[in-house]
């Protein structure tokens, strides 16, 4: 018998017991549904994480007093030691910028300045950032109109600013902001540039920035002291040259900073090099842990479903002993009978898989509608996985009943009442 006629035979046989077949597949349906739903949501989450981080400029190295503490596990840190670490300087940034593997290295500092008002308009939750020429590269900004901060701006501590699209829209509306002034934190700045919209990250807009020369910032804002010195001081953002591997650039930066700080070979770094890669890896670590847990649960459900299939196939073999005998009497070989029953089990499991995939994708879509920042994604491989799992369950749990059917003695089977 060829594959197609076997498949048709299975479908006909299963349709003869519609409700029994459906109930049998329920375990598979639930198992595959769980897998598909969870995978779709996790995949959506992973994509979201990647997408959000890509707006930052994903290969920028953030050089700060300490490493970001990300991922599971407790960290014991000596904050007093960290607080006392030397501050970064503009000179550090200039030296790093000269490294052959570094495209741009700029000092960076910032603070929240709350609501800014202008002619009856206001923009909330604004962020004042001090940076230098090249800060558009490290911060992944694109200047929509005007220009970014220049070397001259920094050297002359000019009162100029580049504003984010949110500020431009809310404070200037239809007006062209270029050449206008903006009062921020007690000083009046000329707007020399407007940035393109970057969008939100995890629901937080990034377009609420007012970027000024770092020298201007430091003139009016003393470096923070006490525990604020850990995160509030000057940091450096460094962007590797295109084509340079991030790890190589990080090694160069580390070596140069150790040299500049005169660290001996047996002394630990008194600074931290941070990348978005670290956060992504940590978040993906969390999602992959969730993944394993969920796949474990789904696997149990699939095993239960498989046992259900095995059970009903054994019943089916007993019920159809006579049919098996007749088929053997007209020339069916053991393997013909084996394949026939195996095919039935697999079709049953695949049917469950199909329903499970459809329901699973449906649930994932529903969750995406209900939860705002979560977009479920069901790439082809989740569907392939769903079908693969159910086919495997069908084969694994179908083999024993099929084997049993194939080994029946034709004359005993044909006489069976």
């Amino acid at each position: 018998m060829n594959f197609l006629s076997l498949f048709r035979l299975s479908v006909v046989t299963l349709r003869h017991h519609k409700s029994r077949s459906f109930l049998t597949t329920l375990g598979i349906i639930i198992g595959v549904m769980t897998v598909i739903t969870i995978l779709s949501l996790l995949e959506g989450l992973n994509r979201k994480i990647k997408e959000e981080f890509s707006t930052l400029g994903s290969s920028t190295i953030y050089i700060q007093k300490m490493e970001w503490q990300v991922g599971p596990g407790r960290h014991r840190l000596d904050f007093e030691e960290i607080r006392k670490r030397p501050n970064f300087t503009v000179e550090d940034a200039e030296a790093l910028a000269k490294l052959p593997s570094i495209e741009a290295a700029v000092p960076s500092i910032g603070k929240g300045v709350g609501t800014i008002k202008r002619l009856g308009n206001e923009a909330q939750n604004c962020q004042l950032n001090g940076t230098a020429e090249g800060g558009d590269l490290t911060g992944n900004w694109v200047v929509a109109e005007g220009r970014f901060i220049t070397r001259e701006d920094r050297l002359h501590r000019r009162l100029v600013c580049v504003i984010g699209s949110y500020i431009a829209e809310n404070l200037f509306g239809a007006e062209n902001p270029l050449g206008q002034t903006l009062d921020v934190d007690g000083h009046r700045y000329f707007v020399v540039g407007v940035l393109e919209e970057k969008g939100a990250m995890f629901g937080q807009t990034q377009d609420n920035v007012i970027i000024i020369p770092v020298s201007t910032y430091l003139k009016y804002n003393p470096l923070p002291r006490g525990w604020r010195a850990i995160w509030g001081g000057l940091s450096i953002e460094a962007l590797p040259k295109p084509g340079v591997v991030l790890e190589k650039a990080m090694e160069d930066v580390e070596e140069l900073l150790r040299l500049r700080r005169g660290l001996r070979y047996d002394q630990d770094n008194d600074f931290g090099l941070n990348t978005q890669q670290m956060i992504m890896t940590a978040l993906q670590g969390i999602t992959s842990t969730l993944w394993i847990v969920m796949v474990g649960i789904a696997a149990i459900s699939l095993i239960v479903g498989g046992i259900g299939i095995m059970n009903i196939m054994l019943v089916s073999v007993a019920e159809r002993t006579r049919e098996i005998g007749i088929r053997k009497a007209v020339g069916a070989r053991d393997r013909d009978i084996m394949i026939q029953f195996l095919m039935e089990a697999v079709v049953l499991a695949l049917l469950g898989g199909l329903i499970g995939i459809i329901v699973g994708i449906g649930i994932a879509r529903l969750v995406s509608v209900l939860v705002k920042f979560l977009d479920a994604a069901s790439p082809w491989w989740t569907i392939a996985l769903g079908f693969g799992f159910s086919a495997a369950v069908g084969i694994f749990f179908g083999i024993y009943p099929a084997q049993k059917a194939s080994k029946l003695n034709p004359i005993d089977a044909i006489r069976y009442e």
């Binding site: 007749i326 009497a329 007209v330 020339g331 069916a332 053991d334 034709p410």
Partner: protein
Amino acid sequence: MIRLVGLSKVYAGGHVAVEALAGINLEINEGEYVAIMGPSGSGKSTLMHILGCLDVPTSGEYFLKNQEISQYDTDQLASVRNREVGFVFQQYNLLPRLTAAQNVELPLLYSSVPIDPRKEIVAEMLAKVGLGDRGHHRPNELSGGESQRVAIARALANDPAILLADEPTGNLDTKTEEEIMALLDELNEQGRTVIVVTHDDTVAKHARRTLHLLDGRIV
């Protein structure tokens, strides 16, 4: 065509072993029409099942077309059942969920005949047994005689040299019995070897040679 040498079959049931066949020696030539008779328990059905390769002997030799069948494995026996012998049962043994045509098609499916010749053969076989127009009916829509005709058509599908019929008219009335036996006569006249198991003299009279079985021996 068929040669049995010292064939015996012992059923080891419970404490006592039952000897269904006790050393059968038999030769049947091509084109013969043989009736096997005997009271119930004489071993005639067991003999038939062994001839039809549905069962295997405990000892002795069975040659079919000079091949020693008793040495065959299950796959080879299946192939013999499929191509060399056609079996007709008293109970018809049609698959109830398939149509008459699909039942006739069954042996062809297992011998992997492609679909076009398969349909042709099925139509030809149904016409041969006089059921050319009943192919789409299911067994429960057919009379006993019609069912047995379908079973005969199925047995003939792969054009076997031997047709074995185990009490083929046991469930039929006299008139239908005549029709079925006439069909078997006709098949024998066309050159096919026909072997019929029966306890009915009128059936046995159709055959040209009658064997009597008693307690597992030919008498």
